[in-house]
Amino acid sequence: MTCLWPQFLRSGASRRASRWALSAVLLANCSCSVGGRQSAKTTHDPFLESELAPQVAAAPAAPAGNRARRVRAPANAIRQAGFESAAASGLQPPNQPIVRANDECRLPEFRNGTVIGDESPAAAAQLYPDEYLFDGGDRELPIYFSDSQMNGLDTEDAAIEYYDDLGKRHVKPTNRVAIYAPRFAAVTTISEPIEDIGSGRPAQSIASQIGLGMAKREGTFAQHQRDMSERLVSRSRGSGLASGIASDALDQPVNPEGNVHTTTPLQDFGFLHTGQLRQSDEARLAASIQSASNWTRDQNPVIAAASVQGNELRSHFRDQELVGRENRFNGQARLRIVKLADKAIAEPGDIVTFTIRFDNIGDREVHDVVIVDNLTPRLEYVEDSATCDSKGVLETEDNGEGSLILRWVLDEPVAGRTGGVVTFQARVR
């Protein structure tokens, strides 16, 4: 077994692996309980109480300066409906220390030895990306061009493509916009006591639990499948395929007769096929010529080969003319592109307006400007919502994942020190 529970290795809890170590002892205690009893003076944020309020007896003091601000919520926002006693839970380790109520302090959160103090949405989006919707940037494979075709445009990617005054093609991704919009789904399994009995054997599932581990034994309802001698046995070798077939099956041996080398290694160079001598063949040809001369002195090909070599391989060119280009601009053509969203939090059904601002911060103009945005599957483009303050057309294309690729093709060049704005709306699915 390589891992006890791999899904938790990718879970949010595991990603916060370096959090305050003593918080683990809070497993079976509500943070505002004293000796297993509920404190009636619970006024701090109950959803954060286990992270914020408790102070563990005999625990090392938090580092100075790491005390974060206390967060309070309206006292009537939450009403306590129940609490547990330590004995009733059955989850509390016997040597667990008592958690005392103290809403004057909170345990700082640590990651890699430093306090997590950044509570901005951007920081949270980095920690828990599966709870956010992203649009913009250039994730996974970088955007590149192959035969004038843009490749590497993954979902969520947004970029601007342009040519500078020298005719060089550029592409620049936008920043990444994060919107908190978690969405859920479910997988359901239906079972009953006599489900899935392959051979009429009694179905049984025996599970025993030992400590925090689990030892499970399954009953005898498992299906046994034995393959007879009809199976195909194949092995792959470095030099080819060797296949063996069991009895009463197809026997199809493969012979290595497909690839027959008709030329000897001494003849396998390009001069013999094309008549042109390459420099890499020169030494081998010289050896062959030498060998040939030993056998047929009257048909010595040394002179003919040497003449071809001199004409083709030892010529070179020199620049005879120097062409200059006047630089009438002081700077270079550079585009800056920024993407914004009007909402940082959204729920399914909400409409988010995205704004893309591009500016030519250089002095030279750029032309053939195309702004492209590949929407993530959870963003649905609102029809006819796209705007652009420059002349151009909007092209839409199915991205193959249930959403669209939006492409604004500007008709006019973007002069230096100018820019434009593109907006569109998308509905959160």
Partner: protein, 256 residues
């Protein structure tokens, strides 16, 4: 003739005994490894990954395992119950003696991650008089912006089909997971519409893990409290429960 050397011979006997002991230990380890491997192989793997937990795992184990992860914090995570047609009532048992609290119209309750709870579903419009007692086990949490915790509660959406099957006496195991955004289906359906039923042999935890992050496990069966024999374990562990006030201004109906 080889001379008799008692000291050397004694040392050799010790070495032989030590070797036998090492051999016995190695054999025992080999047997244990073989037995463990057989057990592991019997539990199966999904696409090269091993998932020791499945629908046959005893309730509470998944939550307990999540509690021993490094960095685990037993926070209170709001969950929202969504019944078919938004009809029916939900109560959560708050104590091992069978104390229950009825949820208000928000149907939101904050449960502790890592714990297991017993609930009661009643007043189902299509099944007059029927009562279901599902369990909810939270194994992970969300990290919404501060002050928006209730708004982004984990939806526990039960479909009419699941309720019907549970009333028929079948065991419904539902794993609710947070979708991976780039793998999400491009649909605009409700939370209940994004629930799919798999074959009994499929591991729903493994399937949920492949599509996102498992958050909660809901089990609905035909088990009901025995009026003749009180079972304190039936009503859960008595873990804390927080019910948000209706006046908190929570926006209802997060889904379409």
């Amino acid at each position: 003739m080889i001379p008799f050397r008692p000291t050397l011979c004694a040392a050799s006997l010790d070495q032989i005994l030590a070797g036998l002991r090492r051999g016995a230990v190695a054999a025992a380890c080999l047997v244990l490894t073989a037995a463990w491997t057989t057990n592991v192989l019997a539990q199966g793997a999904v696409r090269g990954r091993h998932y020791p937990l499945d629908q046959a795992t005893a309730p509470g184990v998944a939550g307990k395992w999540s509690g021993v992860q490094r960095g685990f914090v037993p926070v209170m995570q709001p969950v929202r119950f969504e019944l078919p047609g938004s009809e029916g009532s939900v109560a959560v048992y708050t104590g091992p003696q069978g104390e229950a609290s009825q949820l208000n119209s928000l149907s939101v309750v904050a449960l502790r991650v890592g714990s297991i709870y017993r609930l009661k579903l009643s007043d189902l419009p299509d099944y007059p008089g029927a009562e279901l007692y599902p369990t909810v086990e939270l194994i992970d949490r969300l990290h919404p912006p501060r002050g928006r915790e209730i708004e982004f509660a984990i939806p526990i959406a039960l479909t009419a089909e699941e309720i019907a099957l549970a009333i028929e006496g079948r065991l419904v195991t539902k794993v609710i997971y947070l979708e991976q955004p780039d793998r999400a289906t491009p649909s605009r359906g409700s939370n209940a519409a994004r629930s799919r039923i798999t074959a009994p042999r499929d591991n729903p935890i493994a399937l949920a893990d492949e599509a996102g992050r498992p958050m909660a496990i809901v089990r609905i069966g035909g088990r009901a409290p025995d009026a003749g024999a009180f079972d304190s374990g039936f009503f859960g562990t008595g873990a804390p429960v927080l019910i948000p006030d209706e006046a908190a201004g929570v926006r209802e109906g997060a889904s379409e």
